[in-house]
Symmetry: C2
Subunit: 455 residues, 2 copies
């Protein structure tokens, strides 16, 4: 069968391509994982298009791999078994804004900055902010999060309803418009984080928030990483409702300074943000100052105006890119464990020790309010020794976390990079996941080889 | 087969009973739904006990209906197909407190007041507060919520991990200890709200919160229900982070006054609570005062001391019981829809109109910050005309909500009372739920006839 010809019967010719450059663009993500070409790239314009493509693929047992912008970090969107790369970038419209209900309905191809641009008109914002300007469909598929989840929750917490095209071509809605429901099984939660292995997300209804009356950002530098992480746990224990609380080690700050022409002090640092009313923030900040100064922070800087605040968070968001651009020829490997807060300080110190022992270049950063941190390691993929060391680091970090009740992936998803830890992390529950996959996708066409090895 | 004899081979004799009084106690819940006797009541003391009972039941295709305290409102724990009522009240221990991680691990039979008593020692509290002093296992099974979910979320948001015994006897853990994870499918969310139809919850690891520095409660009386609900939406729109926001109509206040010897003004009223630091609350409260006075609220009363605050919320929590005790011989029927906030005011006014037209006795109350409200209707079950009117009211209220993107049940679950609306609410997604049920419980022994009709 000529796949392109067959798909041309379903969609218009400009929606189907086997162009080599286009296939290459859809063969990789932003990670160190090996690229793999799709047979064809398809650009649906509607749910009906997706439905037709998926039904066709299911009939002929052809893999379908949803693709947003390819910013995933565990090979989540790489079509390792060929087939159709389903690029959703043409489905990027805002379908409905309901400001009074704090809801917005969008198509999956819209990115988070496009979304926030639209929301700003209504005094609203969308909270989840992964490093990349990812698509909302991709963010839902991997259950993404970012710097604000300590206050506003992760991607799964924002999803009120999804329209999903299942392997059999059925179109379902996983939720509704009300803030809560005890009606039937929680398919919202099941689909979020399923990485395209159970269906294709074609519409999202998302919770949005009012822009806070007052925002205050700060950075606090500490003599060592231990005191910095201690500060985080103390702030949480003191019940101070921080909106963001990011740990960046001295290596990260160094890289940030290099590529942003900033001159932040090159010490382990916590970037913080507070959202609320003016009087409340003032009291929170005073309390926080007491805590950090007791832990050896001599200098706490407040970014008061919108511009320096924006610069601070831009620096944080661009950190991974600072490394990528700073080490041409190397690729980025990012670990992504999350642990209970009381285990975090030990985990971060241990990771630094492991990196130093292995002689790897990199830094540690984290959404530490959630117990989630990343080792960013720059790897020359042609250097087998270095690549193996990086893989070893990842493995050691994951085992450390799993032994302490943590997870192998806090926000990047399983993709192919974390499959080998699924059995260890989930035990008998992994069989339940496999059974659900088998039930909803009996022919195994939906993003095969992700979360589970292809049978 | 003599069921009691066979179960006596598995458990000690004092854990198995066919005593008539005991069976009757396990034949009903707090609702108007018709009681139905189990064949036997079993009291497991451990996960291993549950595992053995469930494996035995699965082998012989005997229904297993988990039972907490029987406070459900949609017949969720009534054993309509006989079999085993699995009473988890002996499994009511706190297994572990991790104050630094804001986590507690408990057995399913513990009630929320028992849990909070333990947590108070650590300066912590558990947020979810349904009207009844339900068990935590039951609360997870129905995805319960209450007055605080507008701020802290519903039951599903508090569950970090569950230990669940599946129909095949496998024991799984649905999550872990870290605050977030993108690892595998979200089984936490799937099990919460599954009402014992997918497995028996034998352990829960729950998120807990620090007791706020400052708590302030208030009640604001309005000239009519419309302005009261308008006030709620305005407070939400103003981004004021209320911790509780409850609507109680004039009929409710009347009943509260009767049974609590209070003398709250008998007008549509909003009960509010604010949690935070002192300075922040002061500013929030000032803002709130402006909003409510613009909507015709002339009198706003602050309950400043712990005692009058406790009385206020006790009155709210005991409201259903005030009606039950106030109308001996009648049973309580509670509707439970939830809608997008902008549809709430219309829904509440319409419900009042329907109740008056049908000539039913009752009141309207709600967790209106979530768009969730209840009509409390007192019904003489021997009066077929009255019972039919009450059922009609329920149906009209559900249809009104479903037409506007709402749900037929915000927090009580489906049980048997909301099965007839599942197809309408979920459409094709209901088939997915059925398929998951079939996969995890192929013989249909787990709480048969709930959420889905028994095949």
């Amino acid at each position: 069968m000529n796949l392109e010809e067959e798909l041309n019967k379903i969609l218009s010719p400009e929606q189907v391509t086997t162009n080599q450059t286009m296939r290459e663009q859809h063969s990789r993500d932003e990670s160190y994982h090996t690229p793999s070409l799709p047979d064809v790239v398809v650009f649906p314009k509607s749910t009906a298009d997706v439905q037709q493509v998926v039904s066709f693929a299911n009939k002929h047992e052809i893999p379908v791999v949803p693709f947003g912008l390819g910013t995933s970090l565990e090979g989540n969107s790489i079509p390792y078994h060929g087939g159709i790369s389903l690029d959703l970038s043409l489905m990027n419209q805002v379908l409905e804004v309901r400001p009074g209900d704090f809801l917005i309905k969008v198509q999956p191809g819209i990115t988070r900055t496009q979304l926030n641009k639209e929301l700003k008109k209504h005094g609203l914002f969308f909270t989840v902010d992964p490093g990349a300007d990812a698509t909302l469909g991709g963010m839902a598929a991997t259950n993404a999060s970012g710097t604000t989840s300590v206050r506003y929750g992760i991607m799964r917490d924002q999803v009120r309803d999804l329209e999903v095209v299942l392997a059999n071509g059925d179109v379902i809605h996983t939720g509704g418009l009300s803030a809560k429901s005890s009606s039937g099984y929680n398919l919202n939660g099941l689909m979020v984080g399923s990485e395209g292995t159970l269906g294709v997300i074609t519409e999202l209804t998302l919770k949005v928030h009012g822009i806070p009356e007052c925002i205050m950002a700060a950075r606090a530098a500490f003599p060592d990483a231990n005191s910095a992480v201690e500060a985080v746990t103390s702030i949480l224990a003191a019940n101070i409702p921080v909106a963001r609380m990011e740990f960046v080690d001295e290596y990260s700050i160094h890289q940030v300074n290099l590529s942003n022409e900033s001159n932040y002090e090159e010490k382990p640092t916590i970037f913080l943000e507070f959202h609320g009313n003016e009087a409340g923030l003032k009291q929170d900040v005073e309390f926080m100052k007491d805590i950090v100064s007791e832990l050896g922070c001599k200098d706490i800087y407040f970014e008061l105006d919108t511009k320096s605040r924006a610069l601070l968070w831009e620096a944080r968001h661009n950190l991974a890119y600072s490394f990528i651009h700073g080490f041409p020829g190397k690729k980025l490997m990012v670990t992504d464990v999350s642990l209970p807060i009381t285990e975090l300080s030990g985990a971060i110190l241990n990771s630094r020790k492991e990196m130093d022992e292995l002689g790897l270049i990199g830094a540690l950063v984290g959404h530490v309010g959630d117990g989630n941190y990343h080792a960013l390691v720059m790897v020359d993929l042609t250097d087998e020794v270095e690549l193996n060391k990086a893989k070893q680091l990842n493995e050691r970090i994951v085992h450390y976390a799993l032994k302490r009740g943590g997870t192998c992936t806090g926000e990047h998803g399983v993709g192919v990079g974390k499959i080998m830890y699924q059995q260890q992390e989930h035990g008998a529950a992994y069989e339940v996941m496999k059974a659900i996959k088998k039930t909803l996708d009996p022919k195994g066409i939906m993003n095969p080889g992700k979360i589970f090895s292809k049978e």
